[in-house]
């Protein structure tokens, strides 16, 4: 299995069981393309997921897969890497699985920086359980469990990941394959925990919740695709951009040519700057464009590599008999 594979080679023999039109299909395609593009092998690749519509993902990929329990995929995936760091492990979770019941494990896998590609399918709803609001649902969301509207302010997945000490934080849209695949490749290339939030449309329980920036008609104006080292420009023909409000820790939208603004005034994306990443993650349409792409990437040694180093340092295979006889012993004859 060394001949590189095509995307279709990563499709399992299982019939895909998401609702017709679900954004999950697009993400599945993008992942299969990514696997092919990065030359992954089916036998060395493992998909671990929790529970949810999104977490059905592993059944549809022709690699090794583990559909675990609700919220615990990060812990299971950590165990897989501790057992065999050679494996290339992807983690698929949802906004409920990863941020409601699984928030703590997500925090710790990010802070430990275990080498995983973590894809969080954010549809701002609990799909599999028929549409209750989730921790990413906006205030006032009407759902079976919140008939008069939800009250809690949502958590921002990327802000959370940054606060948790994540070293790679990116964002993409389910149906925009090219940028999604780019982000997934970057995530794969990054050694350590890579966190990717994908805006995923749930056609049944939350249809169109991201239209404000994914709708064809507005996409160009409402999406900012960030590129390291490039000025933060957006809009059709890129007429607009972001700059720092002078003397403040805030960003503002400016139009080139207006009020004497030139490209030089624009903020240049620095994906190694956590503060900038937080600011970008916080931008909300319509006032601001939605920031997509790699918001933050600042690698450090992955956890399991340090673990292996300690194991290696512990030296040669221990002698059990020696161990048992270590310390004070005495003979009875």
């Amino acid at each position: 299995m060394t001949a590189t594979l095509a995307p279709k080679d990563f499709a399992s023999d299982q019939e895909v069981r998401w609702c017709p039109g679900c954004g999950d299909y697009a993400i599945l395609k993008a992942v299969q393309k990514t696997l092919a593009d990065v030359g992954a092998t089916t036998e060395r690749t493992v998909f671990v997921s929790g529970i949810g519509c999104s977490s059905r993902f592993p059944y549809y990929v022709a690699t090794y897969g583990f559909h675990t329990i609700h919220g615990r995929a990060p812990a299971v995936a950590t165990g897989v890497k501790l057992a065999n760091p050679e494996l290339d492990v992807w983690l698929v979770t949802g906004d409920g699985d990863g941020l409601s019941i699984g928030g703590n494990h997500l925090l710790h896998v990010l802070r430990r920086n275990v080498d995983l590609q973590i894809i969080l399918f954010n549809n701002e709803i609990y799909g599999l359980t028929k549409g209750q609001y989730s921790p990413t649902s906006r205030r006032g969301t009407h759902s079976p469990s919140t008939p008069s509207g939800s009250l809690d302010s949502p958590v921002s997945p990327c802000a959370f990941a940054l606060g948790a000490g994540g070293r790679f934080v990116a964002r993409a849209v389910d149906t925009q394959q090219a940028p999604l695949v780019d982000v997934l490749k970057r995530a794969h290339a990054h050694h350590g925990a890579s966190f990717v939030e994908v805006f995923q449309n749930c056609v049944v329980y939350n249809d169109g919740v991201f239209d404000a920036f994914t709708e064809k008609s507005v996409a160009a104006e409402q999406q900012l695709h960030v590129v390291h080292g490039q000025p933060l420009r957006f809009g059709k023909d890129q007429p607009r951009g972001l700059r720092v409000v002078p003397g403040k820790f805030e960003l503002e939208v400016v139009t080139l040519g207006e009020r004497g603004i030139s490209e030089a005034d624009l903020l240049v994306h620095d994906e190694t700057n956590r503060t900038l990443a937080s600011l970008l993650a916080a931008l909300q349409p319509p006032a601001f464009p939605m920031a997509l792409g790699v918001l933050y990437c600042d690698p450090t040694t992955p956890y399991e590599r340090d673990v292996e180093a300690q194991m290696a340092a512990a030296g040669p295979k221990g002698e059990l008999t020696e161990l048992l006889k270590k310390g004070r012993t005495w003979q009875v004859s």
Binding site: M1, S12, Q14, T41, T42, E43, R44, V46, F47, V48, I51, P58, Y59, A62, T63, Y64, G65, F66, H67, T68, I69, R72, P74, A75, V76, A77, T78, G79, V80, L82, A83, N84, E86, L87, N104, H105, L107, H108, V307, Q310, M311, A314, G315, P316, K317, G318, L320, T321, L323, L324, K325, G327, R328, T329, W330, Q331, V332, S333
Partner: protein, 621 residues
């Protein structure tokens, strides 16, 4: 090195078969170390022994308080020693609180050694004494040796360049020296240990050695009141071999490694979250990386068991360990391991509950949880260790069952076993049988739920193996493909298969033996876990009176050995003493419809042999 000069008093030493002594003092007084060193010297003297350390719940409670008292008890003898002992022959009390808390465990006529310097107004008040018990005659029924240990220690270490705080800290060595003299033990192992421990601070090492010797010399030379005896305890006749002292904590850690080796697996992933009294196993294994052990301190117990499951899925041996409340949190994870049929060892070091309960106290009350405490029909094997040394075999056996049957296995230990120590004949590991794991390699006709026809275990297929790519999960799966299935008959078949697989283990374990007595009779005393020693002693004593009583101790609690029912039916009465409110007794009644009767103690303490003896006698009356 003993200080020379003054004429050595030639005390006639009485020969004793056994002795029970307890060191008690403030958390800060180093009683645990004192006890361990006495244990070591006693082991080297060739006695059989059992110890019982008793810590306060507080890390370092305010000095002088009763709840801050830390104690270490050791029972040693020329004959078999199976428990830490009911009554004390000697109590060493470093302060009034220690005396108050421990006095009524001293047998009438027993010896009480106290440091008079600690009996200040303030300390007496803290201990709740209105009057000083040393003067008010309240100790009349004991042999009291009241010595100003503080002063004598001070003098002994005067010469050394150490802080007065460090000097004061040598008191425990002085007391240890005295006790080593009283029972005629060597000091060398302790001297070596002190030298090693304080290799960085040689002065402190020397001071401690001086205190140790001074205490010893005090016994040898001082005009001790005649009622204070000196004793010898002859060596115990044990099976030839190399011995060491071992605690249940060490034995479990080492047993797991032995199991890993026998299974011929390269790596164990031990994932755990600290909790009393289980943490020691994590600490021990954390230092044994060279044996292929990766220890992982997870963010919580759920993450711990899930990481262990992930490790097993990836082809390592996944192990997790906790105590009651933490095991409760692992319940859902256990279900996943059962459903996906992955090997997993789960160690439950039981403690007193419910809820947080009394973390430092022992109990056997997680049996129901281990055997039945899961949602849906979710059977798994449960085995329990009887003694510190037995922990080694039980841990090793757990690895065998987990890997051979592709199932989680729960090992029941408890707070007593975790901390107690006993002499242990080091097994010839080379001679122990291997049980190598065979990972699936052949893609031919592979699916993840292919089963071994005899064990019903599914194949273990490691990620990384070409051609075996497969997906498993918690959803019900088809018997003959492993794919998700909601088919009614399939669920029926899978449920029965999971049950049959575990039940079938009964064919692969030893028949239930009788630990003491005949395989039939008037009364069977049936136990499990750490009560082994107490039950054995009690039955022995009652048998000595000529009664037809037998002791049966069950290691395999699920499934039961296949002869257990028949064996128990051969007794007129079945008495089931447990350190819980009645759990094994219920399982036995349900399984065999025998009128087994419980004898229950839920005090956080081990059984006293005397209590068991009278209970047994009642039943026979």
């Amino acid at each position: 090195m003993a200080t020379a000069s003054p004429p050595v008093r030639q005390v006639p030493r009485e020969e004793r078969e056994q002795a029970v002594i307890r060191f008690a003092g403030d958390s800060g007084d180093g009683m645990q170390i004192t006890g361990s060193q006495f244990t070591l010297e006693t082991a080297l003297a060739g006695n059989d022994l059992a110890t019982f350390p008793d810590y306060p719940a507080e890390i370092r409670a305010p000095a002088g308080t009763t709840f801050g008292v830390s104690a270490f008890q050791i029972h040693f003898g020329a004959t078999d020693v199976l428990t830490a002992g009911d009554e004390l022959d000697v109590l060493v009390a470093m302060n009034p609180a220690a005396l108050a808390v421990n006095l009524n465990d001293v047998r009438p006529g027993g010896t009480v050694v106290v440091d008079t310097a600690a009996f200040t107004e303030r300390n007496l008040a803290k201990a709740g004494y209105e009057k000083n018990p040393l003067d008010d005659g309240s100790l009349a029924s004991y042999q009291v040796l009241a010595v100003d240990i503080t002063r004598l220690t001070g003098e002994a270490v005067k010469g050394f360049a150490i802080t007065s705080r460090d000097a004061h800290r040598c008191r425990n060595m002085w007391a240890l020296g005295l006790m080593l003299w009283m029972y005629d033990r060597e000091r060398q192992a302790t001297i070596d240990w002190l030298t090693r421990k304080f290799s960085g601070e040689p002065e402190i090492a020397r001071a401690n050695v001086a205190a140790l010797n001074a205490g010893h010399a005090f016994g040898e030379t001082a005009e001790l009141p005649n009622h204070i005896g000196a004793f010898t305890v002859a060596p115990h006749q044990s099976t030839p071999g190399t011995y060491r002292t071992v605690s249940g904590t060490e034995a479990i850690a080492w047993g797991l490694i032995a199991g890993l080796r026998a299974a011929q697996l390269r790596r164990m992933v031990f994932a755990s979250y600290p909790i009393t009294p289980a943490s020691g196993i994590l600490h021990t294994l954390a230092g044994l990386k060279s044996f292929g052990v990766v220890t992982f301190q997870a963010e919580d117990e759920i993450a711990a068991i899930c990481a262990a499951i992930g490790a097993s899925y990836a082809g390592a041996l996944g192990v997790t360990s906790s105590s009651g409340p933490g095991i409760a949190l692992k319940t859902e994870g256990l279900g996943l391991a059962i459903a996906t049929e992955l090997p997993l060892v789960v160690i439950d070091s039981q403690r007193a509950g419910p809820s947080t309960g009394m973390p430092t106290k022992t109990e056997q009350s997680d049996l129901f949880q281990a055997v039945l405490g899961r949602n849906a029909d979710a059977p798994l094997p449960v085995i329990a260790a009887a003694t510190p040394g037995d922990c080694f075999e039980v841990a090793r056996e757990a690895v065998r069952l987990a890997t051979r049957y592709m199932t989680p296995v729960i090992v029941l230990s408890d707070g007593y076993l975790a901390n107690a120590a006993e002499p242990w004949r080091i097994p010839e590991v080379a001679s122990l049988p291997d049980f190598p794991v065979r990972f699936r390699a052949d893609p031919q006709g592979f699916h993840p739920f292919l089963r071994d026809p005899t064990t019903l275990a599914r194949v273990w297929a490691r990620p990384g193996t070409p051609g075996l790519e497969h997906r498993i999960g918690g959803l019900e799966r088809a018997y003959d493909s492993g794919h998700i299935s909601y088919d009614p008959d399939n669920h029926e078949q899978m449920t029965r298969t999971r049950a049959a697989k575990i039940a079938g283990i009964a064919k692969d374990i030893p028949l239930q033996a009788v630990s003491l007595g005949e395989p039939a009779g008037a009364l069977a005393v049936v136990g499990w876990g750490s009560t082994y020693g107490a039950l054995h002693q009690a039955v022995k004593q009652v048998r000595a009176q000529g009664h037809a009583v037998s002791h049966i101790h069950i290691r395999y609690l699920a499934p039961f050995p296949r002869n257990l029912g028949d064996l128990l039916r051969r007794f007129e009465h079945v008495l089931v003493p447990e350190l819980n409110n009645g759990q094994l007794v219920q399982l036995l009644r349900a399984a065999y419809l025998i009128p087994a009767e419980g004898l229950n103690q839920v005090s956080g303490k081990p059984f006293k042999v005397s209590r068991l003896v009278s209970a047994i006698e009642e039943r026979l009356a």
